[in-house]
């Protein structure tokens, strides 16, 4: 798995091309792109700022990569997570998974996103149009989403 933590934007199409170029064993590619929304809990959002702990993200993603490869027969995968200040409509995160068959690609992409949401050391701060800011609180649903993979049998191909 390729992991990149960066301030700048990414080109999902170029990443997919790089992952699939010259290969004829890939039957399914799933991408997930997370975007900054212009409102949160009914309040307008002017920007979000992402703080992170990069060395730990790399260590954690190495662990999750091993788990994903054990669960699904992946031909390739990629995670890009941005940090810094982003405006509504901007991309935050990209997950790409490739496999011979669609079930593995879909499940692995969902697993990686559930992982990123509940385990990867990133913290979002929202800034409103008046300049006031607040740290976003974690969602219990994100922890529950990751928990659903625990004890689940390894998927077939």
């Amino acid at each position: 798995m390729t992991v990149r933590l960066q301030a700048g934007d990414f080109d999902a199409a170029a990443e997919v091309r790089a992952l699939t170029a010259g290969r004829t064993d890939i039957g399914a590619v799933v991408t997930f792109t997370g975007l900054v929304r212009g409102q949160s809990g009914g309040q307008p959002v002017a920007a979000i700022t992402l703080e992170h702990y990069p060395e730990m993200t790399e260590a954690e993603l190495a662990r999750v990569e091993a788990e994903a490869k054990e669960r699904w027969p992946l031909s390739g995968s990629l995670v890009i997570h941005r940090f810094g200040t982003l405006a509504p409509g901007e991309a935050i995160v990209l997950v790409v998974t490739a496999s011979a068959h669609r079930q593995a690609a879909f499940e692995a992409a969902e697993f990686l996103m559930d992982y990123l949401k509940s385990r990867a050391p990133f913290w979002k701060k929202e800034t409103g149009p008046g300049g006031q800011s607040r740290w976003i609180e974690a969602q219990a649903s994100d922890v529950a989403a990751l928990d659903r993979w625990r004890g689940k049998a390894k998927a077939g191909t």
Partner: protein
């Protein structure tokens, strides 16, 4: 002379960092500190910013050497311990 194993680097993120007024520091752990919970109890005695940052330890998460741990985790041998709110990336 302090046991060199008792020197650890502490990292703070998000609102823990803001309340602490710093992103990291080096400390020498007293021998009474065995677990992450012990470390939090000790840190709270070190000043008002520590007391404020760790006022509700149940909402703070910890990592030892870049891996998530529970507050009952033993910290012997740790080189880097991070404290932060529940993560909100993705």
């Amino acid at each position: 002379m302090a046991n060199p194993d008792r020197n650890v680097r502490l990292l703070y993120f998000a609102w823990v960092r803001e309340r602490m007024g710093r992103a990291e520091e080096e400390v020498v752990l007293p021998s009474s500190v065995a677990t992450v919970a012990d470390l939090v109890a000790w840190l709270k005695t070190r000043g008002p910013e520590y007391a404020e940052a760790f006022r509700r330890p149940e909402v703070i998460r910890a990592a030892i050497d870049k891996a998530h741990v529970k507050s009952s985790a033993i910290i012997a041998g740790a080189r880097e311990i991070a404290f932060f709110p529940p993560v909100t990336g993705g």
